[in-house]
């Protein structure tokens, strides 16, 4: 579905991404992990077609993403940046409706047929009771759900989310990541950068790990997530136990860190 071919990004003489190659399939939920500054956000921007790499290409269903019409691309993939927020106190319903922007004609109001899709997105994200509330008065968890509903309302094939769990309490984080898994189970491709390895291990189907701009691991979660990998990616000793719903990753402060 999405193929990254030898992606390199350099900025100000520094290499942010170095020859990243990976192929992502529909129906999978890929957790992207890596230390701060490893290049996760940059990779997600490149995969979303929002940032042009200095070398390499992104193929979206076999077509170079740079050649795709920006509106057609916007209809098929949704992107949520880190800490998305609304600049004006519009209602939750209006915010969700903005997700239909690429489907709308250049002028005129919202076609009546879209009302049902907005209702569905609001239901899917438990926001029906909040639909008329100004988004600026929502809590962090509610705003995150509203943004997710905004991303899902256009029924995209691909959802790319940059740290969707940041700032969420445990209950809301579990709720949010389970939702992402549900979207993948419905046949979509979900790619999200995630810092909580235990949550990622329990809910994501695949793991991609970046270190200093290089992709050091990519594969099915159970086979890829090992103590050795965690150590390689984060420079912290860890013990990884169990798999699936009982997976558990704990960091161990070890005296022999270099």
């Amino acid at each position: 579905m999405i193929r990254a071919d030898g992606i390199s990004v350099r900025r100000g003489g520094q290499t942010i991404l170095d020859d990243v190659t990976l192929a992502l399939q529909p129906g999978s939920f890929v957790a992207l992990v890596g230390a701060n500054g490893a290049g996760k956000s940059t990779l997600l921007s490149v995969l979303a077609g929002l940032l042009r790499p200095d070398a390499g290409a992104i193929l979206f269903d076999g077509t170079s993403i740079a050649d795709l019409d920006r509106r057609l691309l916007a209809q098929r993939r949704a992107y949520l940046p880190q800490g998305p927020r609304a600049e004006w106190p519009i209602s939750v319903e209006r915010l969700v409706a903005l997700g239909l922007t690429p489907q709308l004609p250049a002028f005129g109001g919202l076609p009546a047929t879209f009302a049902e899709r907005i209702d569905q997105a609001l239901r899917q994200c438990d926001l029906v009771a909040r639909r008329d509330q100004p988004v600026t008065t929502l809590s962090g968890g509610e705003l995150g759900r509203a943004m997710l509903a905004r991303a899902l309302v256009g029924d995209p094939d691909v959802l790319i989310a940059d740290e969707p769990l940041a700032g969420l309490d445990p209950r809301h984080a579990i709720d949010a990541i389970a939702r992402l898994r549900g979207i993948a189970d419905a046949g979509k491709l979900v790619i999200a950068s995630i810092h909580d390895l235990t949550l990622a291990a329990r809910h994501a189907t695949h793991l991609a790990a970046l270190r200093d701009g290089r992709l050091v691991a990519f594969g099915p979660m159970a086979a890829t997530l090992t103590a050795a990998l965690v150590r390689e990616v984060f420079d912290v000793a860890a013990c990884v136990s169990g798999s699936g719903a009982s997976a558990y990753v704990d960091f161990v402060a070890s005296p022999d860190q270099d």
């Binding site: 916007a74 600049e87 903005l98």
Partner: protein, 328 residues
């Protein structure tokens, strides 16, 4: 939905009242009955002449300039997501003023009356192009480039005053800069109107993009919005419409800043919904201010730009106080 349309309807009624007031007020009072009598009586008659030669072009000009300021202010506040954005922010008003002042400075206006608006429009275009050339990278760079261009045109204006060939020229430049609608006729309106209307069209095409920008640059871009194109259209539309308006009337502050804020509590905060009511309210505000300059008895003419600034500044303070209270 219905509330926004109700508000728009109410503003339209206000607009009609303001137009009638603008046609009736002046050195010679014309009641609506006299206006109608003047239209139906054999022409030419006094009421007819006053109406068509003086009042009507002035009212239409006030309407178009006010609508331009209200529309451009609403678009720029949406584009820059800054409640203090106003049409002068991007340097085009300064460019228009500098072009017009140069026409006065070099005495072109004495031999050819339309030199002032024409050079003003040219100045606005150049200023807009300069702002875009330096500021197309993003929201912040656009604001900074606009500030730099404003500074440049301000320095040019000071220079023109500094080297004014005579005290009369300096006086003429200063009074022109204060902004006024008096003694404007159909010719000036004819020069400015095509540019103003073209600018309106460019500004109106940004509606969808402004809505999407509620989500910030990154999400708007991910929704298929071409940000560079949106910035260009907003800036070009402002340069055309505000530039042409300023080059005919002189600088008129605060209408573009105030109008969007006044309509938001009623029609909501969705940027595209604000454009039309804000443009209509801008027209009402400018017509009302222009009527007020004719009603307030003063020895010299009370300039329109001075009045809007006097009335607008307290609003600015109110805005600051409210922002301090509501912003996190």
């Amino acid at each position: 939905m219905s509330r926004a349309w109700l508000a728009t309807g109410a503003i339209l009624l206000l607009l009609a009242a303001a137009v009638v007031a603008s046609l009736a007020t002046g050195r010679v009072w014309l009641t609506p009955a006299e206006l109608i009598a003047g239209i139906s009586a054999p022409k030419p008659n006094l009421a007819w002449l006053i109406l068509t030669e003086l009042r009507l072009p002035r009212a239409i000009l006030a309407l178009m300039v006010g609508a331009t300021l209200g529309l451009s202010g609403a678009v720029l506040q949406g584009l820059l997501r800054n409640p203090l954005a106003e049409p002068g922010l991007l340097g085009v008003s300064g460019g228009a003023a500098l072009g017009a002042v140069l026409a006065i400075y070099f005495g072109l206006s004495a031999s050819f009356a339309l030199a002032v608006p024409l050079l003003g429009i040219l100045g606005a275009m150049l200023a807009g192009a300069l702002t875009f050339a330096f500021g197309r990278g993003g929201t912040l760079t656009l604001i900074l480039a606009g500030a730099a261009v404003s500074g440049l045109t301000g320095a040019g204006l000071s220079l023109a005053l500094n080297f004014a060939p005579s005290p009369y020229a300096a006086y003429e430049i200063t009074t022109w800069l204060l902004g006024s609608l008096s003694d404007r006729d159909w010719r000036q309106l004819g020069v400015a109107a095509p540019f103003i209307v073209t600018g309106w069209l460019a500004l109106a095409t940004t509606m969808r993009a402004l809505d999407a920008l509620t989500l910030g640059d990154a999400q708007a871009e991910s929704l298929g919005i071409d940000l560079a194109r949106t910035r260009f259209l907003a800036l070009a539309g402002t340069a055309l419409a505000v530039g042409a308006a300023t080059s005919v009337t002189g600088a008129i502050g605060f209408v573009g800043l105030v109008a969007p804020h006044l309509v938001r509590p009623v029609v909501g905060h969705q940027p595209s919904r604000i454009l039309l009511p804000s443009a209509l309210l801008g027209a009402v505000l400018l017509l009302a201010a222009d009527v007020a300059t004719r009603l307030i008895p003063t020895a010299n003419e009370l300039k329109l730009g001075v009045l809007t600034s006097l009335v607008g500044t307290p609003f600015f303070f109110w805005l600051v106080v409210r922002l301090r209270r509501t912003s996190p």
